[in-house]
Symmetry: C2
Subunit: 316 residues, 2 copies
């Protein structure tokens, strides 16, 4: 669209835009560009062929909706947007190949700070930013589209779980929600749980390991176990019996179940020993078994009590 | 991010959200899904492997910035956002493989109308919508990320033109700007030039033909020849001599040069006969030769006069 600035336009735009785009490109372009690829600088980015299935996912983060700008710096919006999108690749067992970002903002927005967060997440997740678009709007928003590849076995879907399989998570839950609560109560930005909220860590290595280990179904816990496990069970047409939910230190059980944004992986597998062995071989923290799947799709319990749907909801 | 609705969440969201997402999925999912692919319905969409180089581009359209809602229906925002992104694939000689969309909007937005425009553009360009994200914001915005493949030869970059090659465009220019002017003066939405503005047509077949014909450099005219030709010349380190600019019927020369959003392709080639032959073989309208490249990068003229940079600019 015309009144916007693709990064490629950098060379011939107005002086101010030129400067900003150059500085952004310097912030984002911190890694080497793979041979045969071409990132920022043309109508579209050019990537080498994908290995195996190609995965694509998109996520938007809006200031004031996904991040409270009075509690957190703007760079967190960029970091979280990229991390959330990359986590969707982890959830399929994919390996990131790159991302494009579309940033909309009103005049006066600190675009360098925002892109510093984007760039940090790109470096940490090994997902280079290969292109983007800048445009004007009243809201500050970051739309991230990530793409990944699946060498070897196919991607792990939500829908592959069968009755009688084990359900595991890659870590204790509720850290992000607890961090948000603590920040609201005045904790510093460097408080450990606040950092967990600000700097979610996509479980890429765990997702790849689980795919290799023959996991039957998988997803990332972005909206909380109380919603996401139901989603997986719905897609797979199974019920489930949970014996416990691992609550992170400093979090409440409510935060562990309904909190969201933990981005731990939820894994279902017919062969938990193989999963444990592969995680051990790769030096990954052992996943925590929380229950098993059952044939009756309406049987959904935690400690013998009905396990209700709860977590983030959205109204239009 | 949590307070948003990936399409995959459809099944277990609130009733209202569920309904809207189902209706949107019905609007978007009009084509068959290729064997082995999985679109809306999981953490990420799964696509079959890309043939040759993979291309990715992203574009955002914001209501009130890219489209005047008092002059045009909301579906035009969706259509134009997709068409503009697909045109970036055409500009490289790519073939669309799919797109993901991220829509942000305030409560009360007619999301069905917006997605009707998105779906129409997807069908017309043969670029299926394979996933998306819905979120809340004050502005209505559509971020589109398209990906394409390049069977055979590599993608055509902006930077490959050499001195002494011919410069062509795929059609007369200025239709979009003329349509916007006419609409502002009261012309109906079905006026031919107004339709050209509302329903831009990415030159996919032409781009693929030009790549096959050995074009050395290419881009799409999104911001107007007065900016885009300079961009191509800058990237290729060449100058140019134009003998004329083809002005579309009903448009002014100013609109043809500075108007933008025509999405005709700008092609540079060392072998114009081969280009013409391949276009003829495929039943495509013959491209129009407008000039040639020269070695002196500062020599940039139209009819012997300096050809100034002009067209859409953006301020931050």
């Amino acid at each position: 669209m015309s009144p916007s600035a693709d990064f490629p336009s950098a060379g011939e735009s107005t002086r101010g835009e030129d400067d900003i785009i150059k500085r952004i490109a310097a912030i984002l372009g911190r890694g080497p560009i793979p041979r045969g690829e071409r990132h920022i600088g043309d109508d579209a980015a050019v990537l080498t062929p994908f290995v195996g299935q190609a995965l694509v996912s998109t996520d938007v983060a809006v200031l004031g909706v996904h991040l409270d700008g009075s509690l957190f710096p703007l760079e967190d919006l960029g970091f979280k947007a990229v991390a959330a999108a990359v986590s969707d690749l982890a959830a399929m067992g994919g390996r990131p190949k790159g991302a494009v970002i579309a940033v909309s903002s009103p005049p006066g927005t600190d675009l360098e700070e925002l892109h510093r967060g984007i760039g940090d997440a790109a470096v940490i997740t090994g997902c280079p930013i290969v292109g983007g678009d800048l445009t004007s709007s009243r809201d500050v928003s970051v739309a991230v589209t990530v793409f990944g590849e699946c060498p070897g076995k196919d991607a792990v879907l939500r829908s592959g779980a069968r009755p009688g399989e084990k359900i595991l998570v890659t870590g204790p839950l509720g850290r992000s929600a607890a961090g948000l609560r603590r920040r609201r109560a005045g904790a510093s930005l460097t408080d450990e749980l606040v950092v967990a909220h600000r700097r979610p860590w996509p479980r890429l290595a765990e997702g790849i390991a689980a795919r290799g280990a023959g996991a039957s179904a998988m997803m990332d816990l972005s909206d909380g176990l109380g919603l996401d496990l139901h989603r997986l069970a719905d897609a797979s047409h199974v019920g489930f019996v949970l014996d416990h939910v691992p609550v992170a230190e400093g979090a409440t059980e409510e935060e562990a179940i309904g909190g969201g944004e933990d981005y731990e992986l939820l894994i279902v597998t017919p062969n938990v020993e193989r999963l444990r062995m592969i995680f051990a071989d790769r030096g990954l923290r052992q996943p925590i078994q929380i229950g098993w799947t059952v044939e009756n799709v309406t049987e959904r319990t935690l400690g013998g009590e009905p396990f209700q749907r709860r977590g983030w909801q959205h109204q239009f």
